[in-house]
Symmetry: D2
Subunit: 346 residues, 4 copies
């Protein structure tokens, strides 16, 4: 006979519901809203743990020596990334609840928390690192080093050493199983052929079609295209080879083999957007709560958040490839044999 | 020099982040989604604790021997009830996150949790009791007794013995400070006068005006009015005397003294609506997850939720008073001296 | 040189922004909130038109003599149904905006609108009919006939005569291209073989596995399974043959060929859930606004909405199939040749 | 007998539902998603009209020679501004629906709309002007002049000439009825007394208390305080005199007379935050849709939106006053006679 599980024990509510110890109470005061402050941050940390759980599993899947198109791998990756997006939406919504706290109510206990700060959430910084943010790209590097415990810095450093999501996405894009199996496409910038990208019939045709769409205002369009798609150098987080795969997926997403990869790219862009929205709401909330003062952690108030909103985007290059799309009726028709490779066997 | 607070210690993350022990892992399996199941329920329990914190403070304020119109009391009550409404909106949103779990993924660990069930959340049942749900009004009373631990039943029973929110609201309505101080209004059904409600000039006028608005389809309108507003007997959770105060506040909400009381009534109705929406979403989620089967706790699946959605409304009588409103241009004009009592002293 | 388009002309704002004529203004009064009432209903009608646009295109795709697995058809269907789900979420949110109108403010103009009622939205009723609600299944049939204009009744009747979404989904499920091409699966209840469903090796194995999962509380489980999956009669909107396809897709959704079909089923269930939530919010809103009175259209207030919420679900049978799932490690392993049919050709 | 109103005629659906004429259809193509593009923009314009309706009524109320604390005026203003906030939340949500359109689907009709652009929404620009954005403070002034029709520029100019919401708020703050009636407070920077602000006992005490809260990191805190609250010059949209009223309301919001004014300030800050979130979502959406290209209107893509997000905040100064709050237990206790002025007469 199986053991009986009881809800409260299963959820370890003895830990969860005893972890709220307001500083104001310890100091003999009663700052009613400190409970809200504690609980909302604990809820955030729970969700950060959940997102790390999902990200870890996604990274493990993509870390396999070979991702098989006929396995559930990419389908599972998309499903779990969509869950992460769903959790970010909830995280944004949680700010509505914090904002029921007024500045005056916050002041009742705020000074007792110094120098604690949400900035010290190592789980959040690990999430950023897992997705692909490097220490060197962080805004406020020194500040970051000073305010985190060494053990947490070490943990984040460990994460940084491993392959990040964006790096694995880049690798998967560069050698999508389907690309390797297809002679016609294997030439798409593959170093093994002597063909230059622009000499390849597909890209030659595409470049011509793209050029004709550029308005006079878009003078720099072709240069941007070449920088992102043709030149050898890696400018940002994605290689030109990966960028070509991104464009190919976006153009031919209607073929069965590319439907789920298209959803994958779309979900990554969505996660970036949600994180930017979260930072924007966070900025407004801080401005509302403490005006122009420095934050509890001594960070320069809303400025840190504003800078990181712009600098900490991870997947913005995926979205930027959309600039290079052309109208559907000008998109090159794929050779019949390639079309069949992109479909089901039946 | 004050002690330094560190974010992770302040939030007791050593407890919060170590409280996730999937049963499937204990059983040597790997049910990826069990983590989500645990975390979403823990997040719910955190928010239930926060709502209990707010409700307790609201009840304490209303429990004072005397609520003073010139104190911040009712303003604070409204503020905290609005926060509870805000948390319910978040609680509804959390269902979106659970629904990223598919039925097949749930089955991976579902049987290992028996007979644990969200039904066993004693915090949720305490919230219901604090608001005013009595054991005798609960759907599935025996089921309830059988599935909760005795210690939790006792805790809920203790809460039931104390004055609930709806009872305190009823008392506050019956003897709003302003009502007691005002001769003209003190007669509104006050037992100390021999005047019957209908003989009182205000209500005599209002009843006449109300009657003229009834369409032939509303034949029962006047009987409903009398049952709710005039007859002595208490039919539901509010007395007829309290109901008259509700109607008075709704009609004259534009006067300064009634502006915040109006927001109070509106917020209580909103909380009821949000809880009904939460139960509806919960029903859909269970139907999606386990179809017509019995729940892990053995409850008859979605049926329990459906019944409780309709039977566990607490403040629906407040909303029903809206039936008795009449058009603004027919609303009796208050005597000048009463108007001044409803305003500021300046 | 192409013509120049101007925003306001393109959107025909001369029509859109001149279509608000409050009755109260015509009657020489100024009911401030009537503008909100008009605009929110106009916004609903715009979104109903958009949903009809999407539904029409989805129905046209599914109405093709043959849906090809290697075409973008099902991918497009899913994409557009997800958009419909997204619009329903917005429609639910719009109720928050209506609820900023108080009952007293509504009374300022409510009587001047009789007998107009949201019940008379023929677009909404056409949406229900397009999805698959039949006149005979409508709650309040006579009421419906009496309050709609004959021309609108005729339009809805026309829609009813055509194949509805649920009927086309049933057909697509019954003869999924892949099912027809596969000898092994073609036997799954196919009338062309003499094999009974239960004699088929796959279903024989599955029935056995399913039976072993039934707890003693689920006594009726096997009878429900047989009614839904095996017996010939069509009980609800789906045939037993279609139901078997539903179960198969849910079980083997990880195979590439079934990934998008799985999303299709999931999205249909979600649309049903959203419409139920919309009706629930609508019920609460009406209760808040007019209490227990009859609606402007004379409908029995919230009762009509409550009944239709339960009776007008279209895709609930899809969700109920989840009852018949079993744990993944007991799911029959498919023969290798079948597995390859479910994958890409590469 | 009153005339009978029919839903579809009341809403003028003959206009609303015939105002969708896709350019792609005119050009003999079928760009399925153009309908969505049209409808979502029409829905925005409906909501802009509704917000203008609310803003106009709010401005009319505040434009009265005298706002009476014992009238429903400020209560009504708060109610309608909260509705505007609620509509902005919906407007933000609408972006979720637009984002179901993929870049490739947008390209199907995008070029046919040139040079139309959401930038040409004169209703939106009128809303900005009504709230208080001046032409001289607009980002991209020349661009603005070039792309709008002269008649629309004229309409916006007309609005600019009238008192804007922020100007009327400033006036109301400067001469809050209560301030004028109160000797003690009339001195708070009133030009009629010779007392300097800093010599006034209340402010002398407050400045001292505020100074003691400044950490060494907040060196500039006192200078900011003086600039905002004491010096004569008007730096931004609010005068120092109005700023002092803001701070006073925030500090003493618990007194009945200041409860609704506090909600007013809070709602204005919320509207600013919502508009900033809307612009952020708009930026992400444009980046997703057209990458780095120029928008249909020729605006420099997302850059215009990014600049205007930061420059077009209207009420940010209200939020910045929160910087000058001090802990509740250090807030000066008001003289008893003043306390009574802040309360009800009873």
């Amino acid at each position: 006979m199986p053991k009986e599980i009881y809800y409260g024990e299963y959820l370890q509510l003895n830990k969860i519901l005893t972890a709220q110890q307001p500083e104001s109470a310890l100091n003999g005061e009663d700052a009613h809203d400190e409970m809200l402050f504690i609980i909302v941050h604990q809820a955030y940390e729970l969700w950060f743990k959940q997102m790390a759980h999902e990200l870890t599993s996604v990274i493990n899947i993509l870390n396999k020596p070979e991702v098989n198109d006929n396995s559930p791998d990419i389908f599972t990756v998309v499903h779990r990334l969509k869950r992460i997006a769903s959790i970010w939406q909830l995280a944004i919504h949680q700010i509505d609840v914090i904002e029921t706290m007024t500045p005056l109510d916050f002041l009742d206990f705020r000074d007792q928390l110094r120098p604690a700060s949400g900035f010290q959430s190592f789980q959040f910084k690990m999430l950023e690192a897992m997705m692909g943010l490097k220490f060197t790209d962080r805004h406020g590097k020194n500040f970051y080093r000073q305010h985190l415990k060494q053990e947490h810095i070490n943990m984040i450093d460990e994460v940084e050493k491993k392959a990040s999501l964006i790096e694995l996405i880049n690798r998967w894009l560069e050698r999508m199983p389907f690309f390797r199996q297809t002679y016609w496409l294997s030439e798409l910038g593959d170093a093994n052929t002597n063909l230059k990208v622009e000499e390849h019939p597909f890209w030659a045709e595409y470049i011509k079609a793209y050029q004709s769409t550029l308005s006079t205002q878009d003078e720099s369009g072709m240069a941007s295209f070449r920088a992102a798609m043709v030149n050898d150098a890696q400018q940002g987080r994605l290689t030109t080879k990966a960028n070509r795969a991104v464009l190919f997926i976006m153009l031919y997403r209607d073929f069965p083999l590319l439907q789920i990869p298209f959803q994958l790219l779309d979900t990554l862009i969505e996660i970036d957007d949600l994180m930017a929205t979260w930072r924007t709401r966070h900025i407004s909330m801080v401005r509302r709560m403490i005006g122009a003062r420095t934050g509890t952690g001594g960070s320069a108030g809303a400025d840190y958040l504003r800078e990181s909103r712009d600098k900490h985007l991870i997947f913005s290059e995926l979205a930027s490839i959309n600039s290079f799309l052309i109208q559907r009726n000008n998109v090159p028709v794929l050779p019949r044999e390639l079309q069949s490779v992109l479909g089901f066997s039946a």
